[in-house]
C-alpha cells in the first residue's frame, strides 16, 4: 500500500474496528455469549489457559457479543466476566504473529503512522464499551490487570471479589491514562494516590472508590446477578438517556482527550530506550522467553524480597 512515506510496510491503518465482529451465525470461541434470562446477557472471556489474555479473536467475540446484546430488544444489562481463575491478564504479551496485540510482533515493522492507526483502532474499542447504551457490569475475580482492567473500568459498574488483583504489574497505574477515568474528575487525593499504586485488591479498590463493591469470591456471582436483576427492571430508553447524560458530562470534562493521550503514551512507550539496569521486555523475551521476562519483572518490581536470588 502506498503510504506517502516513500516505502512499503504492512499497513493496518485502514482496518475497521468492527472487522470480524458480526454476530449472526457466529461461533463464539475466545469470548462466549449467553443469556442469563430475557433481560440479562453475559459475555465470558474464554481463554482460561491463557488467563484470558486478549487475542484478536477475543476482542472480536466480545464486540460481537456487545452487538448482539445491543440488537436484542429484551436485553437491558450485560455482564462481563472471565472463565477459569481470573477476569483477565490484559494483552497477550507473547505478541502472536499477525495479531494486533501490543507489543506487536516485530515482523509487522510498523511506522509511526501505522502504529498510531493501530493504537487508535485499539483504543476506540474502549470508548465503544463506555458508550454502549445498556448497563454493563464487570464481574471481577482473580487477576484484572492491564487491558482487562481497562475493559472493567469502561463498564458502568464493577463488582469484584475481595481478593481480586486490579492494576498493572510492575508499573504504577498512572501511565494507563484511560483507566484514570474512574477517578475522573479527580474528586479526592485518596483516589489519586490509589492510582499510583501498581496493584490493589478488590477490597482496597472498593475503599478507594474505583469499583462499586467487593464481596467474598464465593458470593461474587450471586451479588452480580442480584445487581443485574435489579438494574434490569429499568426501561432501556431511560437508562440509555441517563447514561448519555453522565457520559456526555464526562466528555465535557475532557475524557476524550484522556483517551487520546492513551494512544500517544502507548505510541511513546513503543520507542522507550531501556537503561541497562531496567527490565527490557523485548530483550528479556528474546533471551529468556515470556516466563523469564515475567520473573525478571517481578524481581525488579519488588526489590528486597529475596526473589532476586
Amino acid at each position: 500500500m502506498p503510504t506517502g512515506f516513500g516505502r512499503e510496510f504492512v499497513t493496518q491503518y485502514q482496518k475497521c474496528e468492527w472487522e470480524n465482529a458480526e454476530y449472526r451465525a457466529r461461533q463464539y470461541q475466545d469470548a462466549l455469549y449467553d443469556k442469563v434470562n430475557d433481560r440479562i446477557a453475559r459475555i465470558t472471556f474464554n481463554r482460561p489457559e491463557k488467563r484470558n489474555a486478549f487475542s484478536d479473536r477475543m476482542f472480536e467475540d466480545m464486540f460481537a457479543g456487545l452487538h448482539q446484546a445491543n440488537d436484542d430488544p429484551d436485553v437491558r444489562v450485560v455482564i462481563m466476566r472471565g472463565a477459569g481463575i481470573c477476569f483477565g491478564a490484559g494483552h497477550e504479551l507473547s505478541s502472536p504473529e499477525g495479531e494486533d496485540s501490543p507489543p506487536i510482533h516485530p515482523s509487522k515493522n510498523p511506522t509511526m503512522v501505522d502504529y498510531y492507526g493501530f493504537e487508535r483502532r485499539r483504543c476506540t474499542k474502549w470508548e465503544t464499551i463506555t458508550d454502549f447504551p445498556k448497563v454493563t457490569i464487570a464481574q471481577v475475580h482473580g487477576y484484572c490487570v492491564g487491558a482487562s482492567q481497562i475493559v472493567a473500568s469502561c463498564c458502568d459498574l464493577i463488582i469484584a471479589a475481595e481478593d481480586a488483583q486490579l492494576g498493572i504489574r510492575g508499573f504504577g497505574n498512572l501511565h494507563h491514562s484511560v483507566t484514570h477515568w474512574p477517578v475522573w474528575p479527580l474528586w479526592s487525593n485518596k483516589a489519586y494516590a490509589g492510582h499510583a499504586i501498581s496493584e490493589t485488591s478488590g477490597k482496597e479498590a472498593a475503599e478507594l472508590g474505583f469499583i462499586n463493591k467487593a464481596v467474598p469470591q464465593d458470593k461474587l456471582e450471586e451479588e452480580t446477578l442480584n445487581w443485574a436483576e435489579v438494574l434490569s427492571q429499568l426501561p432501556s430508553e431511560i437508562v440509555a438517556i441517563t447514561k448519555e447524560w453522565i457520559n456526555g458530562s464526562l466528555d465535557i470534562t475532557g475524557i476524550g482527550s484522556a483517551q487520546r493521550s492513551h494512544f500517544v503514551s502507548h505510541l511513546t512507550l513503543q520507542y522507550v530506550r531501556f537503561r541497562p539496569y531496567e527490565v527490557n521486555l523485548y530483550k528479556a523475551k528474546r533471551d529468556k522467553g515470556l516466563k523469564g521476562f515475567m520473573k525478571e519483572r517481578a524481581i525488579s518490581a519488588t526489590p528486597g524480597t529475596g526473589l532476586e536470588k
Partner: protein
C-alpha cells in the same frame, strides 16, 4: 417577602433558611422554590450575614420535589402534558440557573441534614458548599424509577463516575456514613451533635472577612467551571428535554398514571417495589 413555606432568620452573623413544610416532609413545590429564591437573594447582599445555613423543620431535611401534582408545574413537568420544546427548555434553564445561583452565592453555605435528603432536597444540599449530616440521614435520587433524569451534574464532580452510575441507575439511597466516605458530604455526626457541629463551623466561618470568603469560594468554583461544569449544566437541560420525550415500553411502570389512579403513596410504593432488598 413574607415567607410561608420557609423560615428566614439572622443570628450572630449567620443566616438560617429553614424549609418549613414538616407535614409534607419538606417536599419542594413551586412556592418553596419562590421563597428559596427570595431568601438567598436577601442573604447575598446582606452585610450582617457571613454564612448561610440551610436546614429542614420536622423529621427530615427534604424528601425532594413535591410529587403530588398540586402547584408543582415548576418542579415537576408532567410528561403527558403537551408542552412546547421552547417552554420546556425555559423551565429546565430556570431550574438549573437556580441551582447555579445558590452554588455560586457570594457567601459560604452549609446544609444541615437530618432524615430524608432525596431528589431536589439532595440537590439543594449538593449546591451548598458544605454538608454536615446526622447519622440517620438518607441521601439519594430515585428519579430514574419514575422515568426522570436526575438532572444534577454535580453528582459526577462530587462522588466520581462509578458511584454516580451506581446511585443514579438504581435510585438507591445511601446512609450518611456512606455519603461521607464517597465525598458527598463533609461529615456525619451523631443526632444530638448535629446542631452544635453546624453552629461551630458556621460561627468559625463568620469570624472571617466576607470579601475574602467570597473570593475564595469564587476561586474554587471557577476551577470546577474550568473542568466543564458550566457546560454540563447546559448539557443537562438538553438531556432533560430528551428524557421527557422517551417512549414507554409495554407494561412499563408509569408513575403519573398510577398516582392519578391510586394516589401518591401507592404510586411511590409501586415505584420502589422492584428495588426492595437491593444492597
Amino acid at each position: 417577602m413574607s415567607y410561608k413555606n420557609i423560615i428566614y432568620e439572622k443570628k450572630d452573623g449567620i443566616g438560617y433558611i429553614t424549609l418549613n413544610r414538616p407535614e409534607k416532609l419538606n417536599a419542594i413545590n413551586d412556592a418553596v422554590l419562590d421563597e428559596l429564591d427570595a431568601a438567598f437573594a436577601a442573604a447575598e447582599p446582606d452585610l450582617e450575614v457571613k454564612v448561610v445555613v440551610v436546614k429542614g423543620a420536622g423529621q427530615a431535611f427534604s424528601v425532594g420535589q413535591d410529587l403530588s401534582g398540586v402547584e408543582t408545574s415548576e418542579v415537576l413537568l408532567d410528561p403527558r402534558e403537551p408542552i412546547s420544546t421552547k417552554r420546556q427548555l425555559e423551565a429546565e434553564r430556570r431550574r438549573n440557573r437556580r441551582w447555579e445561583y445558590i452554588f455560586n452565592l457570594a457567601k459560604p453555605t452549609i446544609a444541615q441534614v437530618h432524615g430524608y435528603c432525596l431528589g431536589y432536597g439532595c440537590h439543594l444540599a449538593m449546591v451548598c458548599d458544605m454538608t454536615i449530616a446526622c447519622e440517620d440521614a438518607l441521601f439519594g435520587d430515585p428519579s430514574i424509577r419514575m422515568g426522570l433524569l436526575s438532572g444534577m451534574p454535580l453528582w459526577i464532580w462530587l462522588i466520581g463516575i462509578k458511584k454516580t452510575k451506581e446511585l443514579l441507575y438504581s435510585g438507591r439511597y445511601i446512609t450518611a456514613a456512606e455519603a461521607e466516605q464517597f465525598g458527598l458530604i463533609n461529615k456525619a455526626v451523631p443526632k444530638d451533635k448535629l446542631e452544635e457541629e453546624v453552629f461551630r463551623l458556621a460561627k468559625g466561618i463568620s469570624l472571617l472577612p466576607g470579601d475574602g470568603l467570597a473570593n475564595c469560594k469564587d476561586g474554587i468554583n471557577s476551577v470546577m467551571e474550568a473542568r466543564g461544569l458550566g457546560e454540563a449544566w447546559r448539557f443537562t437541560n438538553e438531556l432533560q428535554l430528551v428524557m421527557q420525550q422517551h417512549s414507554r415500553e409495554p407494561g412499563e411502570f408509569d408513575f403519573f398514571e398510577v398516582r392519578d389512579k391510586k394516589g401518591l403513596k401507592a404510586a411511590i410504593k409501586d415505584r420502589d417495589a422492584p428495588f426492595k432488598g437491593f444492597p
